[in-house]
């Protein structure tokens, strides 16, 4: 699969990632991402029959889900760009209606 990304592809991926790109970045990324993906295409040629995809990843350990103290709400909200500390809420622009 030779992957060449168009400007429209770059815009589509940027939308999925909620990334704002400058005009210059769009053009540069189309070329650079195509080159990186072309290089990565070599994995397609490998015979991976019999190799489970999860075999290489580190394992996770399960634990009981027990209530425990968490971070102090006030300290957490102090790092928010906008918060209603008294109500214990993060604030964002209106999402519904206008």
């Amino acid at each position: 699969m030779a992957t060449v990304l168009s400007l429209a592809d770059v815009d589509r991926i940027a939308t999925l990632a909620r990334l704002e790109l400058t005009g210059d970045e769009r053009a540069r990324f189309a070329a650079q991402l195509s080159a990186i993906l072309a290089y990565a295409d070599q994995v397609q040629q490998v015979d991976t029959s019999g190799a489970a995809p999860d075999e290489g990843a580190g394992g996770s350990r399960m634990r009981d889900d027990e209530p425990a103290p968490s971070l102090d709400r006030e300290r957490v909200l102090s790092q928010a760009p906008a918060a209603d500390r008294a109500a214990g809420l993060f604030k964002v622009p209106r999402v519904l209606g206008s």
């Binding site: 699969m1 990304l5 770059v10 991926i13 940027a14 999925l16 990632a17 909620r18 990334l19 704002e20 790109l21 970045e25 540069r28 990324f29 650079q32 991402l33 080159a35 990186i36 993906l37 290089y39 990565a40 295409d41 070599q42 994995v43 397609q44 490998v46 991976t48 190799a51 489970a52 995809p53 999860d54 075999e55 290489g56 990843a57 580190g58 394992g59 996770s60 350990r61 399960m62 634990r63 971070l71 102090d72 300290r75 957490v76 102090s78 790092q79 928010a80 760009p81 906008a82 993060f90 964002v92 622009p93 209106r94 999402v95």
Partner: protein, 481 residues
């Protein structure tokens, strides 16, 4: 008395009150103030916090604390409660974590004095520290060259003698490669050996925190402090932590070292090759046995790594949306808050989020992401097979010495190839160390990388100490006392 250079000697001097922790701390802060401005290893020096901590230690010294009064620097992607933590990003320019990383708690319990936070590529994404939003770090051996990365600031702080010890993080070589390029020791522990609680996430199936030092003994001491189980990191291992200092016997008789010669046939600088061969000769003369091994899938490690790491990064960095922390670009809609806030990522971070998003997107997931994980399994099997014949696998840490600032910033692929020998250990979850092993004709440091079986860091430390006895470490002019 003057402040000793080694962490072990500092600890002993502070424990016997031959010197105070405050004197040790002041000496480190003075040295940072004197020599760091042109190098830019530190993003933030916490002078007040460090001196207060040192004074506390002097008031009530715990004589058995393994790092009593020892100054330590932390890569700025390790959270420190109440101390700014930026990960080298504009997005976290004003971020002050509400909690400390597990390794910070462990350092504090061990009597260490955290003096500051070191520069790194933004969110640890890079191999030169040039992708820091706050400007590059320079190599103390050659100021026109990079220190490597992404933990370049920590490597330089140790190489230039500002601190005896530092922590970095390693997702694809970010401890070992800068250690090699700056002529210090750097260890990437086994996946799961050190808690990542409080490490700003990049690639969660790859990230590990690890130590930098100028001697194997100091490296072992710091590693022993940070290693161990932590229930707050679901990938944290429960395996017992051995006494790493006990491995430092200098005796490598019978140690079998596998050399994957096929990987050395191209792309390795002659000066790097010469130093690598000489270090293996020195270990052989000390009684180690060299054997050829094959790692047939290793040439695929870079493409696999950049698919897996970037997919994980695109997911991990979705949290920077201008809502709960980080900087927000104010807009009238939530949608625009996301877009405009995330526009503040640097170019390399954006590139990686884009690649990761693409390979996880519908229609491409199987061909790229799933396939990369299958090849990753083959890379790990190669090592499993090699370790049935040998104790460790040896390669140069980096195929070249330190490269010039700006040399690779416009060519991401060229930059990625700096990690050609380091990424496999992350993909396979194995411990690996970079040991200083001489310099090139141009006078740039070279690192020998040894990789071992899971949880066999002791053998890596043994090898490092044995080599250190035979090839005394060199120091850059900027690193002399």
């Amino acid at each position: 008395m003057s402040v000793p250079e080694r962490a072990s000697d500092i600890r002993a001097a502070v424990a016997t009150k031959a010197i105070s922790a405050v004197e040790v701390c002041r000496a480190a802060l003075d040295r940072i103030a004197r020599i760091d401005p042109p190098l830019h290893a530190f993003l933030h020096v916490d002078a007040d916090g460090a001196l207060a901590r040192a004074a506390e230690i002097d008031r009530a010294p715990a004589a058995d604390a393994p790092l009593l009064g020892v100054p330590v620097a932390l890569k700025d992607n390790i959270c420190t409660a109440g101390v700014r933590t930026t990960a080298g990003s504009r997005v976290l320019e004003h971020y002050t974590p509400p909690y400390s990383a597990a390794v910070v708690e462990r350092l504090e319990r061990a009597g260490a004095v955290i003096v500051g936070k070191t520069n790194c590529d933004e969110f640890a994404m890079g191999s030169s520290t040039e992708h820091s939003a706050f400007g590059p770090t320079r190599n103390p051996w050659a100021p026109d060259r990079t220190p490597g990365g992404s933990s370049g600031g920590s490597a330089v702080a140790v190489a230039a003698g500002m601190v005896p010890l530092a922590l970095g993080s390693d997702t694809g070589g970010s401890i070992r490669q800068p250690a090699a390029l700056c002529g210090v020791l750097g260890l990437k522990p086994t996946y799961g050996r050190v808690s990542r609680y409080g490490l700003i996430a990049f690639g969660s199936s790859l990230d590990q925190i690890g130590p930098f030092a100028r001697s194997a003994r100091d490296l072992a001491a710091l590693f022993g402090v940070i290693a161990g189980h932590d229930p707050r990191d679901s990938t944290s291992a429960t395996a017992a932590v051995p006494d790493y200092a006990a491995a430092l016997t200098g005796d490598v008789r019978g140690l079998t070292i596998g050399v994957p010669r096929d990987l050395l046939s191209e792309g390795v600088e002659p000066g790097v090759r010469a130093a690598f061969d000489a270090s293996l000769d020195a270990l052989r003369e000390a009684g180690a046995v060299l054997r050829d091994v094959a790692l047939p899938h290793a040439p695929l490690a870079i493409p696999v790594y950049y698919l897996v790491a970037n997919a994980e990064a695109s997911s991990n960095l979705a949290r920077y949306d201008g809502v709960r922390y980080g900087t927000r670009a104010e807009s009238s809609t939530l949608h625009d808050v996301y877009y405009h806030s995330r526009a503040r990522f640097g170019a390399e971070v954006k590139r990686r989020i884009m690649i990761g998003t693409f390979v996880l997107s519908a229609g491409y997931y199987d061909a790229y992401y799933l396939k990369a994980h299958q090849v990753r399994a083959l890379i790990r099997r190669d090592y499993d097979e090699a370790f049935t014949h040998v104790d460790v696998v040896a390669l140069p840490t980096s195929p070249t010495g330190a490269f010039r600032l700006g040399e690779r910033t416009d060519d991401p692929l060229q930059m990625y190839l700096a990690d050609v020998f380091t990424v496999s250990a992350n993909l396979a979850g194995l411990p690996a160390i970079s040991i200083p092993c001489g310099v090139t004709d141009g006078g740039l440091p070279v690192g020998l990388q040894l990789t071992a079986k899971p949880f066999d860091e002791a053998t890596l430390l043994k090898g490092a100490e044995a080599l250190e006895r035979r090839q005394p470490m060199r120091r850059p002019d900027a690193g002399r006392p």
